[in-house]
């Protein structure tokens, strides 16, 4: 059983911002879905997924980059060629 506090914590971990008014309904839905996920408990064995392709690599060759303008075009803010972001502290 996941509590509202657990859901709040997951919201923090995912940095997803969950509204307080959504919390009750979210928790209820979450629990129903997780209970459904418990069907996986019947899966036996460890096993690793077999991969068809291996060693897919490219040669060390330089290819054209985007221009600085193209990089900055979609950014919400830029300064002297740098992209502006909120401060980390």
């Amino acid at each position: 059983m996941i509590t509202e506090q657990d859901v709040r914590h997951i919201g923090e971990l995912a940095d997803i911002g969950i509204q307080e008014r959504e919390l009750g309904e979210f928790t209820h839905q979450f629990n129903a879905i997780l209970e459904y996920f418990d069907l996986l408990d019947m899966v036996e064995g460890e096993g690793t997924v077999r991969h068809e392709l291996t060693n897919v690599m490219r040669d060390d060759i330089v290819e054209p980059s985007l221009s600085q303008d193209e990089v900055l075009k979609n950014a919400s803010g830029s300064e002297d060629g740098f992209i502006r972001a909120p401060r980390v502290m």
Binding site: V56, M57, D60, V62, E63, G81, R84, V88
Partner: protein, 482 residues
């Protein structure tokens, strides 16, 4: 000084010297260019972009693993390390988690009192570098960050050691050996700014472990460790507990500071990168021929050139220096080696460090010419240093360079062997001017002989051989006595 109860482990991140980035074709040669000019949809993390592994990065990692005696893992894979930070444009770093390229291995370093110490490795893996953040603004105007993604996607090799080191100096030696080995393998350019970063784990036996993150200089590592050990010991002495935490090294202050609590606990939610395929590269190791590595080269310098152990260690400690030495002595190793060893390991390195100058501008042929001038008696050792200084200054200031011979001529530094008249008068004058020194000399006072020699050297402007002067003074004084 190594102590059994100091426990140090290092995680070293080095940028691999490939032409293009780890997962895209952007050039890695970004340092001289403006921000965000070496970026493409992949390394910018644009939606819909996909990574493709750079084969050379893996080959380089295999070389390193082989050189350090690691076991290559049969199936290696890349994983996502998920966390949110503005310099991490996909909000995950593609790294290796439970299936790294190589495990185990070791590096042999010089022990505290000579001898050898074996520092074991835990693992070696490859991952991408994040972008670069610049912190801007102030409390009044408002603080914000600026991001440059040129560095995002540069291939890094991460070498994790076991906690086998017992002192900051030992950690320093480990780093030096690691750096030299990577240089010798031609997979790493240590001169590129920011190409090496270290996270250190330190504990005092019986106490909690502290992690110090993101130390970016070799000196910094030693300083950070020294500070941390002192800090932890001080806490323990006062009966306080050492907190298990992450700290940052403040380069300017030479101290460490606790990171904010949000950085302490991270659930990275690792899972295999679904856009990449596994790597089965264990058999690549068979095809790798290692070049001569530092230890082997050191032994060869001792055997082939007759270098002392210390000189050999110094000379082979950096690839460029070792190459320089061999280029200098190439024309006549037997004759040049003894002088070259001392002049390079002791003199040249000192002069370069003093000028904060790299070795590159110094051409080996000019240096050997200088050595020949000293060897055949054209100039004294002392004046040889003068010539060297002029040579270095010219190159550092990017002025027109003169050959050593030209410098000697221009500055009139040649030893005046033929001009013994000038020497004799210089000696006579020196003896006349310094009666007290003569008294000291006769009464056997230490330093008196050197003083007199020095006086003569001044008069002859260093062009005479000190040994010769000594002999003539001794002759002159015994004549006077008699």
């Amino acid at each position: 000084m190594a102590e059994e109860n100091v426990i140090i482990g290092l995680e070293v991140h080095c940028q691999l010297d490939t032409k293009s980035k780890l997962f895209c074709g952007c050039s890695t040669d970004y340092r001289d260019d403006g921000p965000n000019t070496h970026v493409c949809p992949v390394c910018l993390g644009l939606p819909g972009s996909m990574p493709v592994i750079n084969k050379r990065a893996i080959e380089y990692a295999m070389k390193v693993a082989k050189a350090m005696n690691c076991a290559i893992v049969n199936e290696a894979e890349f994983s996502r390390k998920n966390y949110f930070y503005p310099d991490l444009d996909k909000a995950y770093q593609i790294t290796q988690y439970d299936k790294p390229l190589a495990e185990g291995g070791h590096l042999i370093i010089e022990g505290e009192e000579g001898g050898e110490r074996k520092i074991r490795l835990t693992r070696i893996h490859v991952e991408e570098d994040p972008g670069r953040l610049v912190h801007m603004g102030n409390a009044e105007r408002g603080r914000y960050s600026l991001v440059d993604y040129n560095r995002a996607g540069i291939p890094l090799i991460e070498i994790v050691s076991e906690p086998d080191m017992r002192s900051p100096k030992e950690a320093r030696r480990f780093l030096n050996k690691l750096r030299a080995t990577l240089e010798y393998l031609s997979v790493f350019d240590s001169e590129k700014e920011g190409s090496l970063r270290v996270d250190a784990n330190i504990s005092i036996k019986g106490s909690e472990r502290v992690e110090v993150k993101n130390i970016t200089s070799y000196n910094g590592v030693e300083k950070a460790l020294t500070f941390e050990i002192a800090r932890q010991k001080s806490l323990i002495r006062r009966g306080q507990k050492v907190a298990r935490e992450t700290r940052h090294f403040l380069e300017a202050q030479g101290s460490t500071q606790a990171a904010r609590s949000k950085e302490q606990e991270h659930d990275y939610r690792y899972f295999p990168e679904p856009d990449l395929c596994p790597m089965h590269v264990a058999d690549w190791v068979l095809g790798i021929t290692l070049p001569e590595l530092p230890d082997a080269r050191r032994e060869r310098f001792i055997a082939q050139y007759g270098c002392s152990v210390n000189h050999a260690r110094t000379l082979t400690g950096e690839l460029k220096l070792a190459n320089f030495f061999e280029a200098v002595v190439a024309q006549d190793p037997k004759a040049l080696s003894p002088l070259a060893a001392t002049w390079i390991a002791d003199t040249l390195i000192g002069e370069l460090n003093y000028r904060n100058m790299a070795l590159d501008p110094v051409d080996p042929s000019a240096f050997s010419e200088l050595l020949y001038l000293i060897m055949n008696g054209t100039i004294t050792d002392k004046n040889g240093i003068e010539v060297l200084r002029v040579m270095l200054d010219q190159r550092m200031k990017k002025e027109a360079t003169e050959s050593p011979k030209a410098i000697v001529t221009r500055l009139n530094l040649a030893m005046s062997k033929s001009d013994s008249g000038a020497l004799t008068s210089a000696i006579t004058a020196a003896l006349d001017e310094n009666p007290k020194a003569i008294e000291d000399y006769r009464s056997g006072k230490a330093g008196a002989a050197n003083f007199l020699v020095g006086q003569v050297m001044k008069k002859t402007r260093g062009k005479s051989d000190p040994a010769e002067i000594n002999r003539l003074i001794s002759e002159a004084l015994s004549k006077k006595e008699a």
